[in-house]
C-alpha cells in the first residue's frame, strides 16, 4: 500500500493529490552539482541533524536514508510512489533524504538544490500542505543559514525557482475532458494564466491514466499564499468543467459510458497479461465509474494505490525479484486481479 494516500476524509474525486515543495540552499556551500563529496556529506549531516538531533518530536517521526545504501530497485519504487524525485537518485553518491513515517513529508538533500522539502497529501490540501512545508522549513533553518537575497529571495540552482523556491501542484483525474476533447482548450487556458501542466511523472511525461499535474510556473514576484490562491481557483474551475462534462456525457450516452466502465473493470479483473499503459487507461475508466457512482463496491483509494503499484519497479518489488517486460506484464495482471477480487 502507498502510505501517503491514507487519511483525509474529504471527497477525493477528481483531485488525487496535492504536492508542495520548497527549494532551499545553504550559504557558503557550492550547489550540489559541482560540490565535492566531502561538502555533500557535511550538508547531509547538517540537514539530518536539524531534524533528527534538533527536535525530539520530529526525530521520532522521520527516518533517514542515504541514496547509495538503497538498492536501485528500491530507489525506483520510491520515485514511482512520488516520495522522492528522479533527480535525487541521479546522483546517489551525494544525495540522501529524510522521510516521515507516514510518507507525507520528504526532505531531499543534495538534489538540484541542497534542500528540497516536499509535502504530499491526498485530495486538495494546498493551504495545509504549504503550512506544513513552511513549518519544516523553519525547523531546518534553526540549524543552517539559508542562501537568501533581500531582493531576489531564496537563491536556487536554477533561475526558474528563485524567489519563493516553491512549486505547488495538484494532480487531477480528467477522463471526461479527455474523452470529449475539451481538455486541450482547458490546458491552453491554464498555461495562459501562468500555470503549467505536466503528466504523472513530471516534466516531459505523458498524461498516463488521464492524470494531469497543474502547478505554478513562476516563483518570483508573488507571495506563497498568492500563488496557492491562484492555483486553487483555477483547479476548482477545472473540477467544475470535468463535472459538467461528465454530467453531459451521462445525459447523452449513459449506456455507452457504463459499458466502457464495466468492460474496463472486466478486463482488469480477468486479464492474464497487461502492460502498464493499458492498465492505467482501464484504471482511469474504473476510477471515473467509482466517482460517478456507477461502481459502488470498490474503494477509490484502492484504485489510487493500483495506479502507483502497477508501475514497473513496484511490480518487481511486489514479486520480490527483477523481471523482464513480459514477466512484469504477467505479474501486473496477477496483482490487479488479486487487488480487485
Amino acid at each position: 500500500m502507498v502510505k501517503w494516500l491514507k487519511g483525509n476524509n474529504k471527497p477525493k474525486d477528481i483531485v488525487v493529490s496535492t504536492r508542495i515543495r520548497l527549494a532551499r540552499n545553504i550559504e557558503d556551500f557550492l550547489f550540489p552539482e559541482i560540490m565535492t563529496i566531502e561538502s555533500a556529506n557535511e550538508v547531509i549531516n547538517r540537514v539530518r541533524d536539524s531534524i533528527i538531533e534538533g527536535n525530539t518530536i520530529l526525530s521520532r517521526e522521520f527516518d533517514f536514508f542515504r541514496t547509495k545504501e538503497i538498492s536501485p530497485l528500491d530507489r525506483q519504487v520510491f520515485v514511482e510512489k512520488h516520495i522522492i524525485s528522479p533527480g535525487l537518485i541521479s546522483n546517489p553518491e551525494k544525495s540522501a533524504f529524510l522521510l516521515r513515517k507516514d510518507e507525507k513529508v520528504t526532505v531531499m538533500i543534495n538534489e538540484e538544490d541542497h534542500i528540497r522539502i516536499q509535502v504530499l497529501l491526498p485530495g486538495l490540501e494546498l493551504e495545509e500542505g504549504w503550512d506544513l512545508c513552511s513549518k519544516i522549513d523553519d525547523i531546518i533553518e534553526e540549524n543552517v543559514k539559508y542562501a537568501f537575497d533581500e531582493k531576489l529571495g531564496y537563491l536556487t540552482s536554477c533561475p526558474t525557482n528563485v524567489g519563493t523556491g516553491m512549486r505547488a501542484s495538484v494532480m487531477l483525474h480528467l477522463p471526461s475532458l479527455v474523452m470529449t476533447g475539451h481538455i486541450n482548450k482547458v490546458l491552453q487556458a491554464v498555461t495562459q494564466v501562468g500555470l503549467t501542466v505536466r503528466g504523472l511523472y513530471g516534466e516531459g511525461t505523458d498524461a498516463l491514466g488521464n492524470l494531469f499535474q497543474i502547478s505554478n510556473q513562476t516563483t518570483l514576484g508573488e507571495t506563497e499564499e498568492e500563488i496557492i490562491e491562484k492555483l486553487k481557483k483555477i483547479v476548482l474551475q477545472i473540477i467544475d468543467h470535468e463535472k459538467e462534462s461528465r454530467q453531459r456525457l451521462m445525459n447523452l450516452k449513459r449506456i455507452e459510458v457504463e459499458d466502457r466502465i464495466y468492460r474496463s473493470l472486466g478486463i482488469l479483473k480477468n486479464s492474464r497479461i497487461i502492460t502498464s499503459k493499458e492498465s492505467m487507461k482501464l484504471l482511469s475508466d474504473v476510477r471515473m465509474g467509482i466517482e460517478m457512482g456507477i461502481i459502488n463496491d470498490i474503494d477509490l483509494e484502492k484504485i489510487n494505490n493500483l495506479m502507483i503499484l502497477s508501475q514497473p519497479a513496484s511490480i518487481q518489488k511486489y514479486s520480490g525479484r527483477g523481471l523482464n517486460a513480459r514477466e512484469r506484464d504477467i505479474k501486473r495482471a496477477e496483482m490487479i486481479r488479486e487487488y480487485l477480487k
Partner: protein, 171 residues
C-alpha cells in the same frame, strides 16, 4: 518481432539493461520508443537550453564589449564563467547571483514577469528584511484601520510599528 508496448508495429529499437546480472530486455517500435524514458537519449535538452536563449536578448549581438563580458566574467567563488552559465542555465553557487547580477535582472523579468521577491523571509538569514517587511505590512493595516475609523486598533498597530522601528534603529 513485434513492439512490446503496442504489440502492433515491428520493433526496431532494442534495449538491454543489465543491473547486478539481472537482464531486462525491451523491444519497441519507433513510435512507442519516443514515450519511453530508457530511450530518451535526448535528455540533455531541457528547460535550461531555453534559458540560454533568453539571456542577452537585448544586447547588441557581436559587440566587442559584449563578447568581453561573456568570456571574461566569472563567479569568484565557484569559478563558473558567464559563458558556461549561458550554456547550462544553472548556477554553481549562491554567489553567482551577485557575480552576474546585472545580466540576471532582465532574465528574471522574462521568466517570472517580476524581479523582486515578496514572499517568505527566513528568520535567520532574513534579519532586518523580516522586520522591514513586517513594518510595511503593519502600515497597510494601520491605513485600513484609520479608514474604518477603528482608532483603538490603529493606536495598537502604531505602537507595534514604533517598537519594530526602534529595533532597527538600535541595530
Amino acid at each position: 518481432m513485434l513492439c512490446d508496448d503496442c504489440g502492433k508495429r515491428e520493433a526496431t529499437m532494442h534495449f538491454t539493461k543489465i543491473i547486478n546480472g539481472d537482464v531486462t530486455e525491451l523491444h519497441l517500435c519507433e513510435e512507442c520508443a519516443k514515450n519511453h524514458k530508457e530511450f530518451d537519449f535526448d535528455a540533455s535538452f531541457s528547460i535550461h537550453n531555453f534559458l540560454a536563449g533568453l539571456l542577452d536578448l537585448d544586447s547588441t549581438q557581436g559587440s566587442p564589449f559584449e563578447m568581453d563580458y561573456i568570456t571574461s566574467v566569472k563567479c569568484e567563488k565557484c569559478g563558473l564563467t558567464y559563458s558556461r552559465f549561458r550554456q547550462i542555465g544553472k548556477f554553481g553557487c549562491s554567489n553567482c547571483y551577485n557575480s552576474f547580477r546585472e545580466k540576471l535582472i532582465p532574465l528574471f523579468r522574462r521568466i517570472h514577469g517580476h524581479e523582486n521577491h515578496v514572499g517568505k523571509v527566513p528568520r535567520r538569514a532574513g534579519g532586518m528584511i523580516r522586520i522591514k517587511k513586517e513594518i510595511s505590512r503593519l502600515k497597510k493595516q494601520l491605513e485600513l484601520a484609520v479608514r474604518n475609523e477603528e482608532y483603538e486598533k490603529a493606536a495598537k498597530i502604531r505602537d507595534q510599528i514604533k517598537e519594530l522601528q526602534a529595533q532597527i534603529d538600535t541595530e
